[in-house]
Amino acid sequence: MNIVACVKQVPDTEAQIRVKADGSGIEEGGIKWVMNPYDEYGVEEALRLKEKNGGEVTVISVGPARVMETIRTALAMGADKGIHVQDAAFDGADAYTTAAALAAALKDLNPDIIFCGQRAIDDDQGQVGAVLADLLDIPHVSLITKLEFADGAIKVIRPIEGAQLLIEAKLPCLVTAQKGLNEPRYASLPGIMKAKKKPVDVKDAAALGVTPAVNMKVVKFVPPPARAAGKIVCGDDPAAKAKELARLLREEAKVI
């Protein structure tokens, strides 16, 4: 089985994000980069699928040189080979362009199944998976929390409000991983050492025959407004304090 896991490198959830003075992006110095947590579920599920049914897992990522680290992490977890789409033209690319690059890089691979994270925790758009499926003209099921494979088809669970959908799809198809799908393994030390010998193909826009289009542009990054200081209702009389609290909630916070 030809299995693909798409991974994106994102700032660590714990990282302190600072917007550049000119608003053109975020300060990257000092940031710790990690694999997008939803993509980790995808990689783990891809590995489990391979371990059960045989085949090969390819990880692919679009991004600058540092992204190689994330590809290597996936290889250390157990993926077999990597594709790194690296071209300055793709820096800051929108979801469509990223998906187009992925599609071009994956076309010849004829994947049976592609895993994406349900969204990336940095820009929170959740579009790449769906667009990629569309460009490859294969079905896609989003936000899955369980996957079974048998007889050339998958059965997946997708939670919806108050219920779960059981969805069947024929391969080839694309799924996006939601929290709860599995518990991703850690890259083992032997895995890290083995990963060094696994092949990673580096491709640029020209090699893929993709012309990066600018459909969407980030105009400016602005940090969220600083949280205003809290207010403490003081006084000795509980009844008066409660009254004051109610007034504040109604008139100032406007929540009741």
Binding site: Y186, S188, L189, P190, I192, M193, K196
Partner: protein, 619 residues
């Protein structure tokens, strides 16, 4: 730092900027590695520590170990964590691929282990002891013994221990009573009682392999007559499956101050004369062989002091930034004086910088020692020099790191105030878990005797001369940098005093005042540790100063104090490097300035502690 275990920036600084460990990657021994690999390994270690080991920290302490019907049960959470730790390949990561390891440099392993131990030292002892016991068999065992025991220890199936201590033989291992009786088939029947054996019994691994020190019947008394035996808890059948219990019984477990998650067991060997042991190595080589494990264990114990210092400090800083209490003393009288975060109070800041500087110094010292082991292995031509550093620094790493570790953990509680004393916060456990490090693996008193009595004179004094050479070189480099001149002068004064004292001790040792070095051994170790830490901190400050200069230049801030101040706030590198210079400066004024008078005091040959009558202690 967000993980509250270690400052990974400082780890990387020491590894790559201060020690320059990339040099190892150009040697044949380590040319499989690159800096990228090292970074990835560090980051995986952090994940393992945070997600797998840290969750065992509190419940390992509260639940502790239990003893029921002759069996020991460790905290439940240890089981799953141990499995993941082994699967990750961490236990023997530094061993060669031939025995299933990854051959990673020891200094890198040391950094990983610092992070892991910071998450829970008592958990970390189980793989640590297993690794150490397995290593004894790897080095000294026959091919058959390696196959029979080592392989299953190294793959995590079985555990390991070290069995030295007996009720009458603690510091004085040579006084042990455990006996080995020759059996016709070449094996030995072992009898005796060992106490305080860490993880002597546990329910995590299917079998436990005990390296046991004992005396073969008829062999001479003292350490020279001791042999070492491999004694499994369960006998092992020829096909490798487990047989019956090998007449090894757990008498009880200790109830103790800290490391509750690590069982401390009394083991009775051969109550029914059915305990079989295999000789490891040659007869009467027991102490020499066990020293391989003891030296490594001593470095691991130093690392425990370091790890706990690290996480105690990270917690204290983070708490000090959050806790609001009291207005600044000099503003208190004003009507608008507002309470501030306690990190603003000078006394708290001093405590924090005391912790930071000592912590960074002991981190550098422990890493340097591990790095010296790598250099000794990778550069046969310079082996003697690097191995000399290891010999010299082992007792200092063990004793100094654990002593200062106690101080740092204690100061962390001070920073937290009353909250720090309570179990709602982890710092009280750090202190409890840390104390054992000053005691086991040879008390710190014994370490200082090892330093003064053996290590200083070792290799005809070349080891200490080489170390002095390193310190001298640091001073010379720092003197060339304007902003470090005063700090360099302070290290120089302390260093000269230490050199003088070392010479004087050598003279005392030869004269009728031979008691002076013995009486002052632990003071000497403390002074030696202080000067070493001063050296490592100043060495770091030199690098930091050069890096800062470059950054200031890049930002056109060389001449402007205001611009520099702005950069400290906006540029993490500037903040970090400035902090390194501050550590060195604070340590110099706070500690190095006291070294000379302390040396003078020892040289005054005051012997009151030796001479006072015992009666005067008690009446």
């Amino acid at each position: 730092m967000s993980n509250l275990l270690v400052n990974d920036r400082d780890q990387r600084f020491i590894l790559f900027e201060q020690l320059g460990m990339e040099k190892l990657f150009t040697t044949e021994t380590f040319n499989d590695f690159s800096k990228d690999d090292a970074l990835m390994i560090l980051s995986e270690a952090e994940k393992m520590a945070l997600n797998v080991i840290l969750p065992t920290f509190t419940d390992g302490d509260r639940e502790g170990c239990t003893f029921k019907d002759g069996n020991v049960y460790v905290p439940k959470s240890y089981h799953e964590a141990y499995k993941k730790y082994i699967e990750g390949g961490w236990m023997i990561a530094n061993e060669s691929p031939e025995v299933g390891g990854q051959g990673i440099p020891l200094v890198l392993y040391e950094a990983c282990m610092e992070t892991m131990s910071a998450a829970n030292v008592s958990f970390q002892m189980l793989p640590g002891l297993t690794h150490g016991a397995g290593k004894l068999i790897e080095e000294y065992g026959s091919e058959e013994q390696k196959k029979k025991y080592m392989e299953k220890m190294y793959d995590g199936t079985w555990g390991g221990t070290m069995c030295l201590t007996e009720p009458g033989a603690g510091s004085d291992v040579g006084a042990l009573k455990a006996t080995a009786k020759r059996l016709p088939d070449g094996t030995f029947s072992i009898t005796g009682t060992k106490i305080f054996i860490s993880f002597g019994d546990q329910d995590v691994t299917g079998n436990i392999i005990h390296p046991v020190l004992a005396r073969i019947e008829g062999d001479p008394p003292g350490t020279g007559g001791i042999s070492i035996f491999i004694v499994p808890k369960y006998k092992i059948n020829d096909d490798g499956t487990l047989g019956e219990l090998n007449d090894v019984h757990t008498g009880n477990i200790e109830h103790k101050m800290g490391i509750h998650g690590a069982s401390t067991c009394t083991l009775n060997f051969g109550d029914d004369n059915k305990c079989i042991g295999e000789l490891l190595g040659n007869e009467r080589d027991g102490m020499k062989i066990m020293f391989l494990m003891m030296n490594e264990a001593r470095l691991s114990v130093g690392l425990q002091g370091l790890s706990l210092s690290s996480t105690a400090f990270e917690h204290a800083v983070s708490y000090a930034k959050d806790r609001i209490q009291s207005a600044l003393v000099w503003e208190k009288k004003g009507p608008d004086a507002k309470p501030v975060s306690i990190i603003q109070h000078p006394d708290v800041r001093r405590d924090l910088l005391w912790m930071k500087s000592h912590l960074e110094g002991i981190r550098a010292m422990n890493y340097f020692t591990a790095y010296a082991m790598d250099m000794a292995k990778a550069n046969p031509g310079e082996r003697e020099k690097w191995q000399g550093f290891v010999e010299l620094l082992t007792p200092v790493c063990k004793a100094y790191s654990s002593d200062k570790g106690m101080d740092i953990c204690s100061k962390a509680i001070d920073v937290y105030g009353g909250y720090g004393y309570c179990q709602e916060y982890p710092v009280e456990q750090y202190l409890r878990d840390c104390k054992i490090a000053t005691v086991y693996e040879g008390t710190n008193g014994i370490q200082s005797l090892d330093l003064v009595g053996r290590k200083l004179a070792m290799n005809k004094g070349m080891n200490i001369m080489n170390m002095f050479g390193e310190i001298g070189a640091t001073i010379a480099r720092a003197k060339n940098i304007e902003e470090l001149k005063i700090d360099a002068g302070r290290l120089e004064e302390a260093y000269n005093a230490l050199v003088d004292l070392t010479m004087a001790l050598a003279q005392f040792g030869k004269s009728s005042s031979f008691i002076i070095p013995i009486l002052n051994a632990s003071s000497y170790l403390d002074i030696f540790g202080d000067v070493l830490v001063g050296h490592f901190l100043l060495q770091a400050a030199v690098i930091a100063s050069e890096k800062l200069k470059a950054i200031y230049q890049e930002n056109g801030a060389e001449e402007s104090k205001a611009k520099k101040r702005a950069l400290v706030r906006s540029n993490e590198d500037v903040a970090f490097y400035s902090g390194k210079i501050a550590s060195s400066r604070f340590f110099a004024v706070e500690v190095l300035c006291t070294v000379k008078p302390r040396c003078e005091a020892i040289k005054s040959e005051e012997m009151v502690a030796f001479e006072m009558a015992d009666e005067s202690f008690t009446c």
